[in-house]
């Protein structure tokens, strides 16, 4: 484990308006360190996705601050936040969100294309990461020709191809069967071994706990526990 790559400090978030307004997050503090895979678990409506959206610079907190790679997100304009995302964050979504009209390699390349990288360079890097996720032989396929697990691995390849400091994954195994879920988590766990990169996985899937270096539980917008499973380097509990 190395330094903090992503940090939420006293995050509060109100959602809704008028009588429907409610506090989705309350004084949340969370630091994601490089070299570890953190699971953020909690029941539906606990604030997991809201927190993930704030950590991913897609939602502005009502209070508190977010730091990505030491850079504060406060006061940044949408274009600046987009730049923070493309430079420092890789996303893996529950529904994969691949581009159905692009091939596997182009789906990965697009993360570099939006950065203005050359075609040669992006193709080379995309080929490398597709090999890492075990899809070297699927570069020319279209998403519809892949299984759910394979599509999610393409999404992971897209998330890591830009070499981000943090990967945020939203329920990456929710749409997968046990075998594919394990395969996807294995890839994410492997990626999390890089000390320069932290992985945060939002889930309520108990089957993937075994891959976690750390488990953070959230309920009613508050973090209620922060622990390390027995067997990991150090065990700490924070209630």
């Amino acid at each position: 484990m190395t330094g903090t790559v992503l940090e939420a400090i006293d995050i509060g978030k109100y959602l809704g308006i008028g009588a429907g307004k409610f506090q989705a997050l309350n004084a949340v503090n969370l630091a994601i360190a490089g070299g570890e895979l953190t699971l953020l678990m909690g029941p539906s409506g606990s604030g997991k996705t809201t927190l993930l959206s704030i950590l991913g610079c897609m939602l502005t907190p009502s209070s508190g601050a977010v730091r990505i790679h030491g850079l504060s997100t406060a006061g940044r304009k949408p274009e600046e936040l987009a730049k923070l995302r493309r430079d420092h964050i890789g996303f893996v979504f529950q529904s994969y969100h691949l581009f159905p009209t692009l091939t596997v390699i182009d789906n990965v390349r697009i993360a570099l294309d939006i950065r203005g990288e050359s075609s040669e360079q992006s193709t080379k890097k995309a080929t490398e990461v597709l090999a890492i996720v075990g899809l070297a032989n699927k570069t020319g396929s279209y998403p519809r020709e892949l299984s759910g697990g394979e599509q999610q691995r393409v999404a992971i390849a897209r998330a890591i191809v830009g070499d981000p400091s943090v990967i945020l994954a939203d329920e990456p195994t929710a749409a997968l069967d046990a075998e594919n879920g394990r395969a996807v988590m294995s890839v994410l766990a492997q990626i999390a071994k890089d000390p320069a990169r932290g992985v945060l996985v939002v889930t309520h899937d108990p089957r993937i706990v075994e891959f976690a270096d750390r488990i953070v539980s959230i309920e009613d917008g508050c973090i209620i526990s922060d622990s390390r499973p027995v067997g990991s380097e150090d065990v700490a509990l924070q209630a």
Binding site: T49, L52, S53, G56, M58, L59, P78, E79, A82, K83, L84, R85, R86, D87, I89, G90, F91, F93, Q94, S95, H97, F99, P100, T101, L102, D106, R109, I110, A111, D113, I114, S119, R158, A159, D170
Partner: protein
């Protein structure tokens, strides 16, 4: 190569039915613009066709004359005054006027008589198909254009008809000398023209002025304007502009054609805007994904603009193809549609402009995307 064009292309071609509808929409709105513009240009050219083909350095026209087809009479004194100015070589009288053509079947048609003597320094028929220029000197000889054969019930030289109850014989035929009015031009000799239009020998409709080589036409024009009291002196350009102003602007005909073009452009813009908007809505999650993974707004705008441009180019090709077919089909008619390379380029630019403007709605929609939506689906 950047993936933006590929993404745009694939987005468009993914729904081929919608693409066909878009392209047909663009194509036909541009066909309409092409035809309206082609007619407008044709109309403009035809308005000045006689002025353009006369070998005049200057025109002496009756004061206030609005166009070539608005004849009244000038006194020969004006011609002599003109000739008295140093630098004026010749002032050739031209007699024009309205008359009635009666075909052998008895059918009548209004015509516009042009009295030409076949001289190089006057106004003689051009694009001769049959006969020769000198034949107009034969008493009763006329020259008509092939495009009016049906109207005048004539199909070859040697056929007879009557103009204002006087027997005439077709001894020359031409190609492409068409009037924008409903009246065919009929070339006759100056004497016959005088006789048919009741123009006295000491009068003329216009004087075509020829200047000595090297003199300044504007200077002579100014001198003539000072000398001639009941006439306007105009360069061919000035006479052409005056004619266009009268027929194109003054009568509303040009405005109607231009308005048709504008309406076609608006219809085309709405069609493309609607299609791009619905295509963008269909791909909203993809654009949201792009935004979520950090795409700059400019990249997404580029994808949409490229979609618009691809639609524009395909639509333009369709329109150009149909447009050129219309040009070919109307080439020999009384009102041909004209399409020049310049018009083609203007149409391409208009199509592109139309399509890019159409993309604004889609761009506005996509720029308001909340990337958070990628977590909710």
């Amino acid at each position: 190569m950047s993936l933006a064009p590929k993404l745009a292309f694939r987005n468009l071609f993914q729904d081929r039915l919608r693409l066909i509808a878009t392209v047909v929409g663009i194509g036909f709105s541009m066909v309409l613009v092409t035809i309206q513009m082609g007619l407008y240009v044709s109309f403009e050219k035809m308005v000045t066709v006689m002025i353009d083909h006369a070998s005049a350095d200057l025109w002496i026209v009756p004061r206030g004359s609005k166009s070539f087809e608005d004849p009244s009479l000038l006194d020969e004194q004006e011609r002599f005054r003109a000739l008295s100015i140093s630098g004026v070589l010749e002032a050739v009288p031209l007699v024009v006027g309205f008359a009635r053509w009666r075909a052998p079947s008895g059918a009548t048609s209004p015509i516009f008589i042009v009295g030409a003597d076949g001289r190089e320094d006057g106004l003689k028929p051009w694009n001769l198909v049959e006969g020769n220029f000198e034949s107009l000197a034969i008493p009763g000889a006329v020259a008509i254009d092939q495009s009016y054969f049906d109207r005048l019930e004539t199909s070859r030289i040697g056929e007879s008809a009557e103009i204002n109850d006087r027997r005439v014989e077709v001894l020359e035929t031409t190609r492409g000398i068409r009037s924008f009015t409903t009246m065919p031009y009929v070339f006759v000799s100056p004497d016959l023209a005088r006789s048919l239009t009741d123009t006295p020998p000491n009068k003329a409709s216009y004087f075509i002025v020829h200047l000595a080589p090297g003199v300044n036409a504007a200077d002579i024009r100014d001198q003539l304007r000072a000398r001639l009291v009941n006439a306007d002196v105009l360069t061919p350009d000035e006479f052409g502009r005056r004619s266009k102003k009268f027929w194109v602007s003054g009568t509303g005909a040009g405005a109607a054609l231009l308005m048709g073009s504008v309406l076609a452009l608006i219809v085309g813009t709405v069609i493309v805007a609607q299609t791009l908007y619905s295509s963008t809505k269909d791909h909203l999650h993809e654009f949201a994904t792009l935004r979520a993974i950090g795409s700059p707004g400019g990249y997404i705008i580029k994808v949409i603009i490229i979609q618009a441009l691809i639609s524009a180019v395909i639509g333009f090709c369709l329109a150009a193809g149909i447009g050129w077919t219309v040009v070919w089909a109307t080439a020999e008619t009384a009102l041909p549609v004209i399409m020049t390379p310049a018009i083609t380029l203007i149409l391409l630019l208009l199509t592109i402009l139309m399509s890019v403007l159409s993309a604004i709605l889609a761009i506005m929609k996509v720029m308001r995307i909340d990337p958070v939506m990628v977590f909710t689906r």
